[in-house]
């Protein structure tokens, strides 16, 4: 395994290996000195062609805890805004000796393009491409679910766990990555959202598809994962307006109060409080939203470790 492009490429054994490696990395992160020498002398570039703070920080912290050198490249203020092609950007960075590229891009498939290109030899880690995939977020979410529902030290899969993903499935790379990984891990996946944002072909992706949130919530899901609703979707006629979206598809205080007190509440962030999720739900004891962020660092350490330390030394 040279790249991490999509959770659809991960089989069960590799998925579990990455999750279990993440648990080890959590151990490192709980020490006073949060550092391993594994990637000393290796250089990782964070290439962010799209705005992001939390994912970029998370990858940067993860790489630094493994002792890698890290450079950050953001499209704003770089030559991409002057019209340099992806190819030239990558050629330039690789000429400087960069071995791994953590790529966030507004186009779906951009990480695949780099990984498959004749002009790149680097290891590519997809940090979110358009509306396609965000595999490290999905690994983070699966780790969070496993530890919340099965205990910190559990090393097994997610069979028997029911996860409901709510909202804009059509445009969500978080949803796609989670659907693929959760199903590989044996979880039961339900999707719910308006038909414009959850097309009929989604029935091929999940175990159950709903178009009524209350009906879905009454089906006994262990995890409710809310997705961010982009305001621009209102202008492109996917849903009528923010108020209607919130009323029909939001995890309101009222809906939240009817849930089992053990139901895990998740959101990949950044949240629109009051639109897709109420503060009562987001800040409740059963919310795993802060754990998701915390676990993100350990998961990204595990991914970097596996791809750069284990895979390259195995050659």
């Amino acid at each position: 395994m040279k790249h991490l492009l999509s959770t659809a490429d991960l089989d069960l054994a590799t998925s579990l290996e990455l999750l279990n490696l993440s648990v080890e990395m959590q151990g490192v992160n709980s020490r006073d000195i949060k550092k391993l020498p594994a990637l000393t002398g290796r250089t990782v570039a964070n290439l962010f062609f799209e705005d992001s703070t939390r994912t970029r920080f998370s990858f940067e912290i993860a790489a630094k805890r493994l002792s890698a050198d890290v450079v950050n490249f953001t499209a704003k203020g770089s030559s991409v805004s002057k019209g340099e092609s992806l190819k030239d950007t990558i050629l330039t960075l690789e000429a400087m000796g960069i071995e791994a590229l953590v790529v966030r891009h507004h186009h779906s498939g951009a990480a695949n393009t780099i990984a498959n290109a004749a002009w790149s030899n680097a290891t590519v880690i997809n940090a979110g491409d358009g509306t396609h995939q965000h595999p490290t977020q999905a690994l983070t979410d699966s780790l969070t679910i496993r530890q919340a529902l099965k205990g910190k030290d559990d090393l097994g899969d997610l069979s028997g766990i029911k996860v409901l993903i709510v909202g804009d499935i059509l445009h969500s790379r978080v949803a796609r990555s989670n659907i693929d990984l959760l199903r590989t891990l044996g979880a039961y996946v339900g999707l719910v959202g308006p038909s414009t944002l959850l097309p009929s072909s989604a029935t091929q992706l999940a175990n159950a598809v709903y178009h009524n949130l209350d009906e879905a919530l009454s089906d006994g899901f262990d995890v409710v994962m809310m997705l961010r609703m982009q305001m621009e979707r209102m202008n492109s006629v996917f849903v009528p307006n923010a108020n209607e979206y919130s009323t029909l598809w939001g995890l309101s205080t009222e809906r939240f109060s009817k849930l089992n007190s053990k139901t895990l509440i998740m959101h990949p962030g950044p949240m629109n409080r009051g639109l897709e999720i109420s503060s009562e739900a987001a800040d409740s004891p059963q919310s795993a939203i802060v754990d998701q962020v915390r676990n993100g660092v350990a998961v990204r350490m595990a991914v970097l470790f596996k791809l750069l330390a284990q895979e390259s030394s195995a050659k």
């Binding site: 498939g109 951009a110 695949n112 992706l205």
Partner: protein
Amino acid sequence: MTNQETQFTNVSLSDGTVTNILVSGEAITYVGTDSKITAEVIDCTGLLALSGFVDLHTHLREPGFEQSETILTGSKAAAKGGFTCVHPMANTNPVADNSAVVEQVLALGEAAGYVQVQPIGAVTSNLEGKNLADLGKMNSSAAKVTVFSDDGKCVSDSLVMRRALEYVKAFGGVIAQHAQDPQLTVNAQMNESALSLKLGLTGWPAVAEEAIIARDVLLTEEVGSRLHVCHVSTKGSVDVIRWAKSRGINVTAEVTPHHLILTEDLVSEYNPVYKVNPPLRSNDDVKALRDAVADGTIDIIATDHAPHTADSKDCEWGEAAFGMIGLETAAAIAKTTLIDTGLIGWERFEELLSKNPAKISGLSGQGQELVSGSAANIVFFDPRTSFTVDASTESKSSNNPYVGMQLSGTVVHTMFRGTLTVKNSMIQEIGTKND
């Protein structure tokens, strides 16, 4: 240009007759079993002689985009593919929306000398979909334009489309529509399907094509005009056209080679060589298109040869250009998908690639029966070969999606107005008017 006599012996016609063909100057002067003494005799045992292929949908990129293709390089690619006539689309820079540009394209085609370059004129000024282009003046120009298209863009405004259909009736013109509702395809990247959902690429729904075709056939019926539908790509479009024909509406339709053989699953790795508009569709669509060719619903095969520079394909899917080259592989794909599968015979093959497109365009010297007196526009095709497509091409561009695929049937010789432009599958250097 040439007064020599060439005799092609033991060649099969599309009806199965084995015969000899004598060409003198620019015309066929004898077809029959007698053999004459001529300067050049080419034994064609095992080969088929067909009327030279006519492409009704070609992008030659000149003027304006000569880094991708020129009229000369595109003409050579066409000859290599067995064509003796191509119809370059109007989306050049400047746009072919006036007689000066179409006459220039015609002149460059004549100077190149490999095929007849019969320009298509834009329907609307600068392809903007608002005001009609100089339709009548382009028709009465030296280029004698009869086919008008905004290809690359749809004439989406219903009133503009109605007026265009009405206007070209005066001189027997035809509107060739690129059927794509722009509102339904904003930023569309691939066929809308379970796969587009999985890949996170904005879908191009079939209904965006079908709804425009449905509207256009009704407009055509209303004003009593003639419509040609470019690159039909969906099962539903076939149903609409079949219905329109059964109603007596004067509509013809084309399918591209790529929509007969490639499917959307090729998009899975985001390789932009498979990015094309309309997009590659499903297996069901491919099957429906092949059946529609066989039953006569679809009238012609047209390449939509769309050269692009390497840079415009060596990038993110979302940044890449739409289109693929196809002149040199068209006949082999038609043979592989339609003849080898038993769907059609050689006479239908000749209609699809030569006679019908010539008829739609109203050309007199193309798509003729191979009989004495016809222009010597002939392709000699070997139906016995099977080969793996390689990347070599006469085109200036290399966006060829078929490299590595197994196809059957080879163009061996192409004769254009009595001159062999291709001999033994090799492009010939011919004296041009610029020499």
